[in-house]
């Protein structure tokens, strides 16, 4: 388990992380999402021990990470850059990983890299961005690390490889109980694979819960009211996060359980009322809008 407690980090007077507290459990696939500049990469770097926090602590299975190789052995960080050491090849990279990760699975790595057409002595400098990403993911999955931290690691991969990697990851989760922590702006993908979501905005945690729970606690529905002036009544009854009006059709997202909302809306005797599935993207937008991150305001 990764425990993050009251984490603070600032750069040049700008607060990148402000009292971040969240847990990443062993049976999670953790999706880390957030607005631009929210602090996702900073958080991942602190968890992986690349940078040191100003205050707070990060514990990986009870051990502090920074400058602690035994804790770091449980982590493998895939950054969003495509940097490799100079003149490196898949063979030399696997040698380095073998030297630092004692559980590195060389056989598995060779098998996977051959399947993907990566010659072991080919110069990585000549690889495309996507191939470099593939290689990074293969190395991470072969490292034997328990926690795989991916910072927009699937960007640049073609759909086939993307699917393959996700399958391998799922297998690893099932077999070896690895815990992927995936930071991405591709919310559909996150929604597909993640069990737990952490949403960051301006360095703070807006929510950190199981996706199912988030969806359970928020509802989206469409309603056509008898009288459009009843909009105010609805607002007072259910305190919606957002209301979109198109004529007399209201599309509402509100916090609360389904039964409660159903009862409240039905009390107004609507002409039409239907619950709709709530996507992660909508949750993202509504939660961040509630904090003032509103597109209309940006372009006002």
């Amino acid at each position: 388990m990764i425990e993050i407690k009251n984490l603070c980090k600032s750069y040049n007077g700008v607060m990148a992380l402000n009292n971040v507290t969240m847990d990443i459990n062993d049976d999670d696939i953790f999706g880390l999402i957030g607005t631009n500049g929210a602090g996702k990469s900073t958080l991942l770097r602190i968890i992986s021990g690349v940078i040191k926090q100003d205050s707070g602590e990060v514990l990986v299975d009870g051990e502090s990470v920074f400058e602690n190789p035994s804790a770091k052995e449980k982590l493998c960080f895939i950054s969003d850059s495509d940097m490799f050491p100079q003149n490196s090849t898949p063979a030399s990279m696997s040698e380095i990983c073998r030297a630092v990760y004692k559980d590195f699975d060389q056989t598995r790595f060779e098998f996977m890299s051959n399947k993907l057409g990566m010659g072991k002595n080919s110069n990585i400098r000549n690889y495309s961005k996507g191939m470099k990403r593939q290689l990074k993911l293969l190395l991470a999955l072969s490292s034997g690390a328990k926690y795989i931290l991916c910072d927009e690691a699937f960007d640049g991969l073609d759909p086939v490889i993307r699917q393959t990697v996700k399958s391998i990851m799922a297998e690893e989760v099932y077999d070896r109980k690895i815990v992927p922590v995936i930071a991405s702006h591709n919310l559909r993908e996150i929604e597909d694979i993640s069990g737990r979501i952490g949403l960051l905005h301006k360095g703070s945690v807006l929510l950190s819960e199981q996706l199912e729970d988030i969806k359970f606690q928020s509802q989206k529905f469409q309603v056509v009211l008898q009288d459009v002036s009843q909009e105010a009544t609805i607002s007072s009854l259910i305190h919606p996060i957002s209301i979109d009006r198109s004529g007399s059709l209201f599309t509402v997202i509100a916090r609360g359980q389904r039964d409660g909302i159903k009862k409240a809306v039905n009390s107004l005797d609507p002409v039409f009322f239907e619950f709709l599935p709530l996507t992660l993207e909508e949750i993202f937008i509504t939660e961040t809008e509630a904090c003032g991150y509103d597109l209309r305001k940006i372009f006002a």
Binding site: Y11, R45, S48, G49, V50, I51, K52, E67, P69, S70, A71, K72, E73, L75, C76, F77, S79, S81, D82, M83, F84, P85, Q86, N87, S88, S92, E95, I96, R98, A99, V100, Y101
Partner: protein, 692 residues
């Protein structure tokens, strides 16, 4: 946790991936050592060597230049490699993408640092050592170098390795404290040049602001400041074991600091100028102040200034103006553009005020540094030098710095020196004081005083150097007193310095006519040592007054048959010409034993066709004197002087005489400086010939 075995593995992996650098290093040093030896050996042409001895001598010199301490080329190349390797190996700290990789893998920063540090050194030093050893073996095979030279060659190799490590560690440390490779390289240059540069600048600026604080020459400055740089410390104290220890010290200190600071280095500083904000401010402050003074000094020098109030004003103005400009430029370099300039204003103001304070101290001298004369009770001894020995005793190439000479010419009987310098201070004699003499060609400027260097050695051991402008009379009186002291004479004698290098024969010429009075006599090294001993003994017993009142009999010049011997590049002081006086009993005895007639030159009057005389104050005039009697009268009325001398108080009676001989194949035309001894006779002759 990473095991030792894994650590070795990582080192091996890193070495393997950078093997091409080792190859490059090996090729370079192969060219420096065995290839260069073979090439140089080929160029030593037997046809031009007169003997086997000469061949051996040249081969020995070749070995010294390539494999021993004299060889500077391999040292420079190693330093360049050290610089490049350190920057290359540690630039990963300057990229956030690289740091994401290296700092996320399960390895402690210290170990990562050491892996890269060791690898960088091994990649360059291993090929260097191999090539050097190959060169040594080849040198022993192709030349008759004895095996006893092996420790010397190994010592030279060790010195270069130590120099490499000092520079390498310094650059690595610079990479740790910075966030961009370019800034890291500049910082490394800063560390290697800051202290020597500041000291050299200080020594130069004292000449601008102070009249009496000695302005040392570059060789003195290099000798005394080289210890303060990891790049030049290996040359401190003439490169002895002490210099090796200093260089090792630099290597260790920079390495330890590098490790400690790397542990604490924030990874997010990649891309910033410096790893910590405070470091940036410190460097900015330390760069702007000396560079502003350097600019002020350069403007002062280029304007041809000469200690006038307005020139000091320009010096001060240029310094203060440039501190603002440099501060701005440095901010732009650090911030990669004209952003955050407002933030730097406070520091600029602090640098400006510091410059003002330094200028006040230097120009106004509130602590009386310029006028400081130690009390007699504080002194252990005092040294004095005015260069009289190079006027009377002989000529010297690459004369040591006046401060070194003053340091050597120490005496405990220093009361006359203190009296003289106090008097010159009280008279406020400006060492640049001159007198303008009008001539047909316009005014010429003549020094009225003699610059005298004094070295006060305090009882604490501290040495204080000063320069005073002493009037002619006081100078003569002082030297007359000092040279009566045999101890002073021993150190002040020109012949404490080495006579010319690998000489083989001596040419002796008559003092007045400069015609050779003997066939050249063979003089090899043992003879030269004996000659030097005799000259030293004779000069020690002559006082200043003795020299002034005497006339030399002849000059001795030594000929070096090694036409390739490059005195200039060796840059060491040596006597090129000696003046022999009738009072030099030991020297004359030495010459007599070698068949030299010491009675003086042949009477050359019959051999002369004509002479010309050019008065110093009127160089355009050349008066021709012909006729045996006139020539005889003229030459008997003038006295040859070795040089114009300083000060030229009798400037109107000094001139240049050209002597033309009938038998040009036997006697080359000669030119000498003379002083007119009998003004009436000479005036008459000159008037007659002028009219003709």
């Amino acid at each position: 946790m990473i095991s030792e075995k894994s650590l070795h593995k990582l080192i091996k992996i890193n070495l393997k991936s950078n093997m091409y650098l080792a190859f490059l290093s090996f090729v370079t040093f192969l060219l420096c050592f065995p290839v260069r030896l073979l090439f140089l050996n080929q160029t030593i042409d037997n046809n031009y060597t007169t003997s086997n001895t000469e061949l051996i001598y040249q081969q020995t010199r070749m070995i010294q230049q390539v494999l021993e301490r004299a060889g500077i080329l391999p040292t420079v190349i190693l330093m360049v490699f050290a610089f490049i390797m350190a920057a290359f190996n540690f630039k990963y700290m300057h990229s956030s993408a690289s740091e994401d990789f290296y700092h996320s893998i399960p390895i402690k920063r210290k170990k990562l640092f050491l892996i890269r540090y060791i690898n960088g050194a091994v990649l360059i030093l291993t090929p260097y050592i191999l090539a050097n050893i190959l060169g040594m073996i080849l040198g022993l095979i192709i030349t008759p170098t004895p095996y006893s030279a092996i420790p010397i060659m190994l010592y030279a190799m060790l010195r270069r390795i130590v120099c490499f490590m000092a520079v390498y560690s310094c650059v690595v440390f610079s990479m740790v404290i910075t966030g961009r490779t370019f800034i890291g390289c500049l910082t490394a240059v800063f560390f290697m040049s800051f202290l020597p540069g500041c000291l050299t600048l200080y020594y130069s600026i004292v000449g601008v602001c102070y009249q009496h604080i000695l302005n040392h020459d570059l060789s003195y400055m290099f000798l005394n400041t080289s210890a303060f740089s990891p790049a030049s410390s290996i040359y401190y104290h003439f490169g002895d074991i002490f210099s090796v220890m200093i260089s090792i010290g630099y290597a260790i200190i920079f390495l330890i600091l590098g490790i400690i600071l790397y542990d604490r280095r924030p990874s997010e500083s990649a891309g910033e100028a410096y790893s910590w904000e405070i470091t940036k401010n410190i460097f900015k402050f330390m760069i702007t102040i000396p560079t502003s003074f350097l600019t002020g000094y350069l403007i002062y020098s280029l304007s041809g200034a000469d200690m006038v109030v307005t020139d000091r004003t320009w010096f001060a103005f240029s310094t203060l103006f440039s501190v603002c400009i440099y501060s701005l430029i440095i901010d732009m370099i650090f911030n990669q553009g004209p952003i955050k300039l407002k933030k730097g204003i406070k520091l600029t103001a602090a640098a400006f005020l510091t410059d003002v304070l330094i200028l006040i101290i230097m120009i106004c001298d509130p602590f009386g540094m310029d006028t400081y004369i130690p009390k007699a009770s504080e002194l252990r001894s005092v040294g004095f030098s005015s260069g009289y020995e190079t006027y009377y005793q002989g000529t010297i190439m690459f004369d040591p710095d006046a401060s070194i000479k003053a340091e050597m010419n120490q005496t405990t009987d220093f009361t006359p020196i203190l009296k003289t310098v106090s008097r010159s201070m009280n008279n406020s004699v400006d060492h640049a004081e001159t007198e303008n003499i009008s001539t047909d060609d316009g005014n010429i400027s003549v020094d009225k005083t003699i610059p005298c260097t004094v070295c006060y050695v305090l009882k604490s051991g501290r040495k204080v150097y000063r320069i005073y402008a002493v009037d002619v009379k006081s100078h003569e009186k002082l030297l007359s007193t000092l040279t009566k002291n045999k101890d002073f004479n021993k150190h002040a004698s020109l012949f404490r310095t080495e006579i010319q290098g690998p000489s083989t024969e001596a040419v002796i010429t008559d003092w007045n006519t400069q015609v050779s009075i003997n066939k050249s006599i063979p003089l090899l090294q043992p003879d030269i040592r004996l000659l030097q001993k005799a000259l030293k003994k004779d000069s020690e017993s002559m006082t200043y007054s003795d020299y002034k009142n005497s006339t030399a009999l002849f000059d001795i010049s030594l000929i070096c048959s090694d036409s390739n011997y490059d005195y200039d590049s060796n840059n060491t002081a040596y006597i090129s010409e000696m003046y022999i006086y009738p009072e030099y009993k030991n020297t004359l005895e030495f010459l007599r034993k070698r068949g030299v007639s010491t009675k003086g030159g042949k009477n050359m009057i019959d051999e002369i066709t004509n002479i010309t005389y050019q008065p110093y104050v009127n160089g355009n005039i050349s008066i021709n004197i012909s006729g045996k009697e006139k020539i005889k009268t003229f030459l008997s009325s003038v006295k040859r002087i070795p040089d114009i001398g300083n000060p030229r108080t009798d400037i109107k009676s000094i001139g240049y005489v050209n002597i033309y001989y009938k038998n040009k194949s036997k006697y080359a035309n000669q030119g000498i400086f003379v002083r007119i001894a009998d003004i009436d006779k000479v005036t008459k002759i000159l008037e007659e010939d002028k009219n003709e």
